[in-house]
Symmetry: C2
Subunit: 344 residues, 2 copies
Amino acid sequence: MAGNKGKVTIFDVAKAAGVSSSAVSYALNGKPGVSEATRAKVLRVASELGWKPNGAAQSLAESKTRRIGLILGYDPKLLSVEPYMMGLISGLGAELEEHDYSMLVRLSIGEEDERAIIEDWIATGNVDALLLTNLEIGDPRVDLLKEHPTMKALAIADASLTGGLPTLTSDDAAACGMAVQHLYELGHRNIARVAGPEELGHSYIRDAAFSEITSELGIKYRCLHADYTPEAGADATRRLLSVSPRPTAIIYDNDVMALAGESAANQLGVSVPGDLSIMSWDDSFMCTAAHPNITALNRDIVEAGRMAAALMLKLIDGEEVGVVEEPPYHLRARESTGPAPAEA
Amino acid sequence: MAGNKGKVTIFDVAKAAGVSSSAVSYALNGKPGVSEATRAKVLRVASELGWKPNGAAQSLAESKTRRIGLILGYDPKLLSVEPYMMGLISGLGAELEEHDYSMLVRLSIGEEDERAIIEDWIATGNVDALLLTNLEIGDPRVDLLKEHPTMKALAIADASLTGGLPTLTSDDAAACGMAVQHLYELGHRNIARVAGPEELGHSYIRDAAFSEITSELGIKYRCLHADYTPEAGADATRRLLSVSPRPTAIIYDNDVMALAGESAANQLGVSVPGDLSIMSWDDSFMCTAAHPNITALNRDIVEAGRMAAALMLKLIDGEEVGVVEEPPYHLRARESTGPAPAEA
DNA sequence: TTGTATGCGTTATCAC
DNA sequence: GTGATAACGCATACAA
């Protein structure tokens, strides 16, 4: 309410309400030192004038921005291809909205860039906390943040990668076990996997888990590393299917590659699940939109985002946060996995 | 370089460099009023101390946040399903990084919420400009922003919907023409469309264009409105295929519904493109990852994001921005469209 | 070229 | 319960 051009300040509200500026501040922030009558009046006047505290001034006075930082790895193609990040943002945002917080988002082109952004936030104080995703092994960002404990940070990664930083972790090893078990029970003894980039921390964790589980069960296991894109997923699939004896099942590290892999198999005349079983990781909409539907390890990414936001808010409140577990994976068995073919 | 706990300010830098605070400010901001020697020294000392201007203080002094606001419609499911928004973010971010700007992102649950967020930004001054997407017909946000010209805003929408606000528009009507023309040349005379929500502005634009073009060509045309999700896309497809004579081609307003529609057709024993041609809008990775590949109207969403960011920066600089056109659509013909079947 | 002083809009401390 | 006033950290007009 107001065609205000010159911005309205706390003094305007104070004058209009016939009180002092501190009374306005107290009234607005629910602090004692002001009567109920004046509080009500102040709030009414403030709303009439469409006044809210200026963000910059408030941040400066409180040393608090009410923002958390999020860095998106800049590969525009992959970013829009892979639903994970947007799911995370949905969860983060939903939780943050309830606490009057916002996300400050920046893009990083490479690892160097990402380090620069973190340093920028440390120096400028433009965020109260930040989220670290897609950790690599021995990730320099971890060291950087440990050198600057002033900057609250939460890592989403396996706890073995985060060097003691507050961490939201998922039990990927357990998920690997569920996947292999599912295929083993269907009679598969020659399994392949199309993994994410080798340098990523969670690729590494899964690599280790798969190797161990398959060797325990005496299953043949082969793994190709790709980059999460459909092209790479299709390519890896073709390579896996070109060797003899070819695997009877392929597990993909994300849905995008699984979808592309399924198409690639189709094009080669390899029928799913008759000749080849397919499983995927994450279980986004693609798994159910595909034909045949793709069996997947389902994870609640939005909920993980909510948890991550809640943990960062705890950090900002000065509470201790150690290692917290995401909701567990669930195996969703669908059409793309079936009994292993008689003989390859 | 510094295990600094108490934050370092411009005065610390000034003292360490043996100059005054204003010299530091001038030096850092590349302004005249300081010798090259002192400038160099100041910069060196600042870098040694890891100092950058505090963001809140800078914003307060300059009345400039170096942030643009982005509101994500909060349907976590749809948000992570639909690659459009992330593509836009990629483009926005890429351009903003080059100008030392960031995105402030919030989630809105409904239209009321989104209005509240805009009002919040107007009152708090937490962003220098904001982006309006997914406009509806007679969208109240447009009026709100016209009442508050202080808040720079850019709308991504058909110019007919933005009431004179600065606008980045795309020629969806032309795209509709290309789509129909492509199918017409393949012999299709009974076309259906699975559109986005009826209340969305660009659904409306496309509705009108399709109706006009098909009636001009004397083609049978039917349209069902869905909500962009795979479930709705599959459902609409089944309904369209259940009437006789059934359409020989379906155009989908986004890739997600097209992918789900293709699967639904498969499950019904309707072969693509033998019995049914399928086309999609946007042309994300799903179109090439699907089998058969999906013919699509390709648009460069990332580039649109870059353009949007550049336009907002112009607005912030006080320049006028009218209606600007996105890069044009291109038809990518693929496997999912073929000659119309002889008789339905 | 350099240093000093004031404003930016809040919050919070302190007298009243 | 209320009203001046000092931070908060920077930019900048102004004086030296």
